[in-house]
Amino acid sequence: MSDGALLLLPLAIAWFAALLLSPLDGRRRWVGWVAVSALGAGLAAWIWLAVRVWRSGPIEMIAGNWGPGIGIRLRADELGIAFALISILVLLAALAYEVLGGVHERALPELVLFMATGLTGVFLTADIFNFYVFFEIAMISSFVLASYGTEARHYRAALTFTLVNVLGSVVFLSGIASLYHLTGTLDMDAVAIRVADAPSGSVMLTAVLIFVAFGLKLGLFPFHAWVPLVYRDTWPAVAAILSAALANIGSYGLLRFGAGLLPRELDLTAGGIILLGSLSIIYGAIQAIGARTGSEVIAWSSIGQVGYILVAIGIGGQIGLEAAVLYALINALNKLVLFLAIGLRGWLVGASVALVAFSVAGVPPSAGFFGKLDIFRASVADGRNALIVLVIVGGALSLVYMFQFYQHRFWMNGGDEDVSPLSSRLLVLGLAVAIVAIGFWPEPLLALSARAAAVLPGGGV
């Protein structure tokens, strides 16, 4: 198979599967399983692409046989692949979970596939406007997905989510337009070169626009107000999709646009970014301790967790960016299991939550330990002692709220009669065990995030 076709394969699988399944009723089991297998095929295509890129470097193609600099460029490099693999895996797990438990709205499997299309495109494109288009495909599917459920609160959560994120998209679109105005091109590589000659004040303003847009998606500290409202009231599988797959666009965008296209601006504002990240960590953790319901605890916790990603991006350099990628990937896995576990009852669920709680707090042996360790290493290498304290205090606080969460959920509400289906519980347990397994054998993930960081101009050793 030629390189170009290989690049289009994951996109085509998700897109055609979504289109073909659209007229069908997603509540039927077999439709759900067809969608799950399509996502599986998409994931397999990504893995194939990943192996190819791992052996022989990034693959590029220009859509429609246009010349370089004219057509829209698609590119698969390690950074995009790392995020794509995790995001599609999250979608796959969340959809399988929902199909096992019984889908009760006809459009769910198709919407998840449309979101897979959008995410695949975002991680494959090397064109800033194309990025926006795929980003909107993922966002619009997420707006509809967020309303999944039967009660009015699901719709209200979806409305909050939609209004905030449409604003975020508008800000992002303005940022893209400014970048085009400043550089006269939409190609990421060309933007990265030409932006150095643009007036620095305007570039800084553009960088702030883009930072705000991705900060909103991620739910960072000053832009976090929607996070607890939405995650509290959405359906568990949907919350997992929003926070563990869709939010990856935020961390990927900060890396790709911040560290990739605007490294000078990132350098200049590193202090502020680290400060915002630290505030996120502390504020999220304190609010999580005070939160009452399980999903609120995890929502606040997610605000704290993305703070670590921001801190790592602020530290920068190969070691910081590597830590940011690794932390983003592990955080997505943690939140996937936690949100899925909220919707379930039974003892296997408690075991899964306990396993993941240690990963969130960064206790070995779990994947989360290596995420924290990497940020720790980055802080030490950068000589920032305050950050070292912050990482330790943040870890301790997360242990406190995860323990509270566990206590509330599984000790005080003991004796629940309606136990969830064994298959769903086994799925969640399997994912939790996988997180621990990564803790025992972290080398592939560490190597992947190191290669991903090396793609960015600030990275590379």
Partner: protein, 119 residues
Amino acid sequence: MILALALAVAVLFGAGAYLLVKRDLVRVVGGIILISNAANLFIISAGLTRGREPIYPLEPGVRVSDPLVQALVLTAIVITFGTAAVVLGLVYQVYRGTTAEPVEPEQENPPLNHETEGQ
């Protein structure tokens, strides 16, 4: 022209932001639409250049205006349109689900059970 566009963007954005903080959900949607269209105008202004219309065949040595922003804004308008439709659909569902929009302070129906928990 730049000034006119800048003013239009400012007015649209300001009006949209004003509507966005209203309690009436339909007005909020109106605000979203205005703000999105402010962004669309902003895209046009990002590529505002003087010149002939860029239609092939081009006369050599004659400046043409930038055609790319037109394509970009067309895409963005379609996306705005789709988003507005989705948001209106959601507002309708919220309206149906709560029987009275949360706008009216003097609602007749007592709040549903799930509204009172965990708010």
